[in-house]
């Protein structure tokens, strides 16, 4: 599947750290909201 403007964002579930707790995040749970998804190379680096 390729991502394209105007097409559905691929759904996923991922383990996450969020304000002191570990949880599972599902992109599908964010329907109804604007979402910005930021990928980045690694923790402990700049930016």
């Amino acid at each position: 599947m390729t991502v394209q403007i105007g097409k559905q964002a691929p759904d996923f579930s991922a383990e996450a750290y969020h304000q002191g707790t570990m949880k599972t995040i599902l992109l599908a749970d964010y329907r109804g909201k604007w979402v910005v998804l930021f990928f980045y190379p690694a923790d402990f680096t700049y930016v």
């Binding site: 105007g6 996923f12 996450a16 995040i25 990928f39 402990f44």
Partner: protein
């Protein structure tokens, strides 16, 4: 990601959720958050920091670099229907501009609310162009209603 953490209130203000994601484990995110991010930014990162082991999700989004084994700096604006509205992918040495991202989010929200078309360099308060049907009527005459200086 510290710049995003600093600007997080601006995202909340316009009703946008932030998710960050790298190949690091959730435990590494916790360590980084405790040891560094929370010292750089008061309150730290208040959004979920997602783990993408092996770059599986990055691969789905076309940002995983299998040689370096990391997700590149890809940034996706996803609308309330789950549809991708904007994509930016940067090479590893260069960081992003959070202000430009917020501008794009506000512009997409403005279009969604009013149907207006959003010219380049638009900021809230600056002129927009009429919605698509009306815009067709002024094709070739946009120079009369919109000046390039509006873009800066």
């Amino acid at each position: 990601m510290a710049a995003v953490a600093v600007k997080y209130p601006a995202f909340l203000e316009i009703g946008a959720e932030v998710l960050t994601i790298s190949v690091d484990s959730a435990a590494t995110h916790r360590d980084w958050h405790e040891r560094e991010l929370s010292r750089m930014v008061p309150g730290g990162a208040r959004y979920p920091m997602l783990s993408d082991p092996g770059g599986k999700i990055g691969t789905q989004y076309g940002v995983y670099d299998p040689e370096k084994r990391v997700d590149l700096r890809g940034r996706f604006i996803i609308d309330p229907e789950g549809v991708i509205q904007a994509i930016e992918i940067l090479g590893i040495p260069v960081g992003r501009d959070v202000s430009e991202l917020l501008r794009e989010l506000r512009a997409f929200q403005q279009h969604r609310k009013t149907g207006e078309l959003i010219p380049c360099g638009w900021q809230p308060g600056k002129p927009t162009l009429p919605e698509e049907e009306a815009a067709k009527k002024i094709a070739g005459k946009i120079w009369e209603v919109w000046k390039p200086k509006n873009a800066f």
